[in-house]
């Protein structure tokens, strides 16, 4: 067999792992690798900032179920990936990050553009490799992809010194044998029987679903199972879409900005079955008051999640799909009960709502209109109010069509993630629900979208503020809007879009919303929609930090005087004291 360079072997490995697109930005030590990319038929998307590459690979992975791949050069290129890797790690996204590294003989000498990226990313990767010997390339790439996609998925980093990419070797394709890594997907039969027994005996069961159901592709089994037991289903932010929200058994999202009825159901429940969810603090509220009457069954592929945050009565380690299939065989159909009636009544009494306004655009209205005009779109979000409104007011039906940074809460995630999702799903509408603060954190990727003809749509809910933090300041910090006022005109998003060659559209009145969305969806260009919304609008309902999730407040109302005071601040782009306003 003829010898190949390390760089050529890397590309051959990527091809054999089924990679058809990589996201990256070259640099000095990556010259040999990029020369191999030049000769390869793997598509390379050139980003404008490495953070964008990581989020694009992440959005591609979440929307397709495949492993996303991003590439960055040594030093600053690699450190620019860090937020993206951490985002993927917190949300269990299969990612392989390839970083360039200085020549092996320079490692540890503080060479030009050297950074200890395996050290820096140790707490935020599932595993990482520093490849010191070219002959290990095939083995390391096989292991990396295997580790990234199996068990609880996660990011794996491969640090690739320059001299390793120019060294020559004979290609081989090894089997993966890892003594210390055997994720168990099969479930324990006895535990399934115990869980089934409790589920049959429960009078007020709730199924609490997280992102694990999405990663295991278990949503069909979930629907069958919930229907068989007539058990209501609530999802976490990561689980949004795993159970269709127009289903009668759907409770929507639970937790801090979940529905009242989901939170009430949890607090009244006598049995909670958690699947692929991790009892995060945004879900549980005050942990000692969470689900006080319930027994807890916890199904998770990661044994370390079981018993980490709450006491669990029946732990089941395994893949969500296998667990649900096994449970389905053990349970008998249950008729509707008084519990279903009670929940239906709560749904009638406490729906998600907002106060419509004929003169000023409400963000919830924008989302409802997007849902009406693009009901099967992939929705990505930034982080903050836009994210919560997108979760609440779009009717999500598909597990891989709601893409949001849940664990890390990364502002600037949604737009590059949308680009990645669109590349993975070219025939699907992909819409980033954004805020004016978040969008600017990675707006440079407009260039990437325009140059590569990636027709993603961004809907900026422009309130001129860092809205979620402003909301907390309004409620808990005496309306002192410290450093949260961005101003209405910083920048002009329509002109910004046009400067990049994208289409920019603006709506300032509710009557303009629909036509803007229609124009955006009809365009084959990347589009930025700037919706000028009520700056005082709050995400409602809300569980205050540290409260039990049943202590959930309505916050729909805002005073006219508050709006005009805020408008003054938005004009000046700075905080104006109440005395100055008066």
């Amino acid at each position: 067999m003829p010898k190949m360079t390390g760089a050529q072997v890397v590309l051959e490995c990527l091809k054999r792992e089924g990679v058809d697109v990589v996201f990256g930005l070259p640099g000095g030590v990556l010259l040999p690798l990029y020369d191999a990319i030049y000769h390869s038929d793997i598509r390379h998307i050139l980003v404008r900032h490495e953070q964008g590459a990581a989020h694009m690979a992440d959005g591609y992975a979440r929307s397709t179920g495949k492993v996303g791949v991003c590439i960055a050069t040594s030093g600053p290129g690699a450190t620019n990936l860090v937020t993206g890797i951490a985002t993927a790690f917190m949300d269990s996204v299969p990612l392989v990050a390839i970083t360039g590294q200085v020549n092996t003989f320079l490692i540890g000498k503080d060479a030009f553009q050297e950074a200890d990226i395996t050290g820096i990313t140790m707490p935020i990767t599932k595993h990482s490799y520093l490849l010191r010997d070219a002959k290990d390339i095939p083995l390391v790439f096989r292991e990396a992809f295997y580790i990234a996609r199996t068990g609880r998925p996660g990011p794996v980093l491969i640090d690739l010194p320059r001299d390793v990419t120019v060294a020559e070797l004979e290609f081989y394709w090894p089997d993966v044998k890892l003594a210390g890594y055997n994720p168990s997907t099969r479930v324990h039969e006895m535990q399934i029987k115990r869980a089934a027994k409790d589920l049959m005996e429960a009078e007020r069961p709730v199924i609490y679903v997280g992102g694990g159901v999405k990663f295991a592709d278990a949503n069909k089994e979930l629907i069958t199972f919930a229907e068989k037991l007539n058990a209501p289903v609530t999802t976490t932010l990561m689980g949004v879409g795993c159970f269709p929200e127009d289903h009668t058994l759907s409770l929507g999202m639970l937790g801090m900005h979940g529905t009242k009825y989901a939170n009430f159901a949890i607090q009244e429940s006598d049995l909670i079955m958690a699947i692929g969810a991790r009892f995060d603090d945004r879900v549980t509220g005050k942990i000692t008051s969470f689900a006080p009457k319930a027994k807890i069954i916890h199904i998770d592929i990661d044994p370390a999640e079981i018993g980490k945050n709450v006491r669990v009565d029946i732990p089941v380690v395994g893949d969500a799909k296998n667990a649900l299939a096994a449970l389905l065989k053990e349970v008998q159909a249950k008729p509707r009960s008084a519990w279903n009636d009670k929940i239906d009544q709560w749904k009638l009494d406490y729906p998600l709502k907002y106060i419509p306004d004929p003169n000023i655009i409400k963000p919830q209205y924008v989302i409802e209109k997007i849902c009406e005009l693009a009901p099967d779109a992939i929705i990505t979000t930034e982080v903050g109010q836009n994210q919560m409104w997108a979760a609440q007011f779009y009717i999500h039906k598909d597990p891989r069509k709601f893409i949001s940074s849940g664990g890390l809460g990364t502002m600037g995630y949604g737009f590059p993630a949308a680009i990645g999702a669109k590349i993975g799903n070219p025939d699907c509408d992909v819409i980033d629900i954004a805020g004016d603060g978040s969008f600017l954190m990675n707006s440079q990727e407009l260039a990437t979208a325009v140059v590569n003809d990636i027709s993603v749509k961004v809907a900026i809910l422009n309130n001129g503020c860092l809205g979620m933090v402003r909301q907390w300041q309004e409620l808990f910090f005496g309306k002192r809007y410290s450093a949260t006022i961005l101003g209405r005109t910083s920048p002009d998003f329509v002109k910004l879009a046009e400067a990049y060659g994208a289409l920019g559209l603006r709506a300032t009145k509710p009557s303009e919303v629909e036509s803007v969305i229609r124009t955006a969806l009809a365009s084959d260009k990347p589009v930025v929609m700037d919706f000028i919304i009520n700056p005082m609008e709050k995400v409602s309902p809300m569980v205050p930090a540290g409260a039990a999730i049943s202590e959930i407040l309505d916050l729909e109302w805002c005073e006219e005087t508050e709006i005009s005071a805020m408008d003054k601040m938005l004009v000046s782009g700075r905080y104006v004291s109440r005395e100055e306003c008066a």
């Binding site: 140790m122 580790i147 003594a179 018993g307 980490k308």
Partner: protein, 163 residues
Amino acid sequence: MKHTIAVILENKSGALSRIAGLFSRRSFNIDSLSVGATDNPDYSRMTISVRGDRVVLEQVIKQLSKLINVIRVSELDPAESLERELAVIKVSTDRENRAEIMQLVDIFRAKIIDVSARSMIIEVTGDEEKIDAIVLLFRQFGIKEMARTGKVSMVRGTRVIKA
């Protein structure tokens, strides 16, 4: 509650810092950690002494098990296992107390490995309590310097913890 955990890990670069990093990142309290070769050169064995209740211990074991380079994690039941630690202690000495120190060394079956006009280095092995006891006794003479290894531990009888 103190617990002793034995960890078999691959001898690969970064394996040690992954484990050390895990403890600080997850706010687990470790009292001691020792690591060294096993009979198989591909693997090392680490003994970790950790404080916390059962829930903490369970998390420590599960989180360690998740690391790809970790092959095996076992809790060692104190009733069924032996533990040893080594300490070298440099004690201030003078003409008056030298004999008394030597007596203590005898009682504890320790060893004097260096003698100078004003100090001695004493080597002692044993379980943690024994070392604590001798340290306490030497304190009256003045401990100039001390180095302890952290404990190593092994289950009695035929049970083995190996890769």
